[in-house]
Amino acid sequence: MTIITTLSARAIPVRGNDIDTDRIIPARFLRCVTFDGLGAHAFEDDRAQLKAQGKLHAFDDPRFVGAGILIANSNFGCGSSREHAPQAIAKWGVKAIIAVSYSEIFFGNCVAMGVPALRVAVADADALQSAVEANPSLIVTADLHAQQVRAGALTVAATLPDGPRQQFLTGAWDALGQLVEGLPAVRATAAGLPYLRGFAA
């Protein structure tokens, strides 16, 4: 039970809408029975492609080594349900994500892992990315309590849906304990379901 209210760290920008989980962690790295070691392969194919074009992906840029907050754009993490994607990002060192929007499964995975994924406006995501690109040593603060992201002169609104926000603020982001505590009630609900009682009226 770790309460998460604010996180401050240097940030890493990954630009682009609709960055899917196949790009975050290509399927060949899913042949594993633990999540260990995935961090090294985050965005592997995107990185290689940019390298071939003589460009540098943020995850290869020495200026962003050690960053703890990822700043992305719209529909981040769409596609497959693979938790390997947020796990790879987290194992690389990211502790919080700021983006315009997320796919729901990706967002749910982040909550379950204790990685807050905050939402900001389109222009604010862009402004934060530009600020960090201009000054990689800038400290970015994700404040779940005030629902703000602060970075130097910038202060922008950053939201989380109420449920997950409460989970982070109360340390209950790992739902498992509560779910298991509820087992007697779970059994009562199950006993009332038509398909578990021969559809008897």
Partner: protein, 469 residues
């Protein structure tokens, strides 16, 4: 807020309680497991000293990593073999049923549960796989979950979830000749976009939807997730009941009559309230092919690849990226695009009716796949394979130059040995055209219906199936 929809009914029935966070604790009636997203969940359970609460409500199979050519054990790929051994051990130790290759019941998880009658109306279904939406075709509320949530379901048979909004996607009219369920959903995605459904459950309704077979409805619901909707569903009707009747796990005898009565009662009421309603006309839908790197980037086969100006300004960087990755120029016609690989299979279009539709095109066309094209069929399950072979479909495919393989996910995501090479272009009946999806970091994917893939295979290029005599 929605009311009196099937979604509301099923959600309320399965809600155990409201958690302090405001989320609901939701009972999961059917939990499906596969080898890729489960080993870490079982490991976490062991670490915490927890057991599986309702082992009889889970079913497991192996699909993502199984080879489709040589399935002898141990697998040539040691990592794949490790994963198979992990699921064998995890299911054995926890008393969960596992459908192995050779059992006659193995296949893509979203194909085997319906064909065995495990998926039923009014259930909640979860699986560590985004295409769990498929099961919504039966009037179930079915969603994909991550591995932490797989652990939650194993330990408690529940999930902590926030309620979704409900959008009714109404489609009326008759689909034209050569237009299939796959075209319908690609068309809907193109209009509603890949993120338009975030926060929603999609209720597919209207005369077109209820005129579809169960297998076609599964194709539609399967791709709800490509539109951002975590689940999609169709209200159960006589087509649903006829499909289920007599299947292994379907209710029997007096239970059957009571089940049908309950299933009828949970459908969305005529006065149901939706958070949003959108409507489409079946007549407007043409055979559709994707040209880009997101499943909503589709065009009618007789259209040209759209110009960047036809997209909102905020989308244009992504559109430019799609042109560059695919090597296509805006304005270029979709028809005539040369292909290197044709793949028929996956949980979208790997069922018997899909294979029949593809085989029928090959027979009508009469030609064979040119030497420069690699074409192969991967049945979605062992049962599909057996049924196809009983009808002689495998001979039709082979005669026209296709390879005939064992059941699995195969080149839908290329975790097994089936992969694109270099910049090859594949036309595929699967559901995702993401960069690198089919195994080569530069590989390119065009999504289309089984009929369109079969025709493209023998023609060597994208061809409008409506022109085939």
């Amino acid at each position: 807020m929605s009311a009196r929809t099937l979604f509301d009914h099923v959600w309320n029935r399965h809600r155990v309680r409201t958690l302090p966070s405001g989320q609901d604790q939701l009972f999961i009636g059917l939990h499906l497991i596969h080898e890729v997203t489960s080993p870490q969940a079982f490991a976490w359970l062991r670490e915490r000293g927890l057991t599986v609460a309702f082992p009889e409500r889970s079913v497991a199979t192996v699909d993502h990593i199984v080879p489709t050519e040589d399935q002898s054990r141990p697998y040539a790929d040691g990592l794949a073999e490790d994963m198979l051994q992990a699921i064998e051990r995890n299911t054995r130790e926890t008393g969960i049923r596992l459908f192995q290759p050779g059992s006659g019941k193995q296949g893509v998880v979203h194909i085997i549960a319906p064909e065995q009658g495990l998926t039923q109306p009014g259930m909640t279904v979860a699986c560590g796989d985004s295409h769990t939406a498929t099961h919504g075709a039966f009037g179930a509320i079915a969603f994909g979950i991550g591995t932490s949530q797989v652990r939650d379901v194993l330990a408690s048979q529940t999930l902590a979830m926030g309620r979704m909004k409900v959008r009714k996607v109404q489609i009326d009219g008759k689909l034209g000749q050569g237009v299939f369920a796959k075209d319908l959903i690609l068309h809907v995605l193109r209009r509603l976009t890949a993120k338009g459904g975030v926060g929603f459950a999609y209720e597919f309704a209207g005369s077109t939807i209820h005129g579809l077979s169960m297998e076609e409805r599964m194709t539609v619901c399967n791709m709800a997730i490509e539109g951002g909707a975590r689940c999609g569903y169709v209200n159960p009707d006589q087509v649903t009941f006829d499909y289920l009747k007599g299947r292994e796990h379907a209710p029997k005898g007096v239970d059957w009559e009571r089940a049908v009565a309950w299933w009828r009662s949970i459908a969305s009421a005529p006065d149901a309230v939706y958070d949003d309603v959108v409507a489409f006309k079946a007549e407007d839908i043409a055979p559709t092919v994707t040209w880009g790197i997101s499943p909503d980037q589709g065009v009618a086969v007789n259209e040209n690849i759209p110009a960047a100006e036809s997209f909102p300004v905020s989308e244009r960087p992504g559109i430019a990226e799609a042109y560059a990755y695919m090597g296509f120029t805006p304005g270029q016609p979709m028809a005539g695009t040369a292909i290197d690989v044709a793949f028929i299979g996956s949980c979208t279009n790997g069922r018997i009716s899909d294979l029949r539709a593809a085989a029928a095109i090959l027979t009508r066309h009469g030609g064979t796949v040119p030497a420069r094209v690699k074409a192969f069929v991967v049945p979605g399950s062992e049962a599909v394979k057996k049924a196809a072979e009983a009808e002689g479909l495998h001979e039709v495919f082979r005669k026209h130059g296709f390879e005939w393989r064992e059941a699995g996910c195969s080149m839908c995501l290329a975790m097994n040995p089936d992969k694109l090479v270099g910049k090859q272009i594949s036309i595929s009946t699967s559901n995702r055209n993401f960069k690198g999806r089919q195994g080569s970091p530069e590989g390119r994917t065009l999504l289309a219906s089984p009929a369109m893939v079969a025709l493209a295979a023998v023609e060597g290029r994208v061809t409008d199936v409506r022109g085939l005599k």
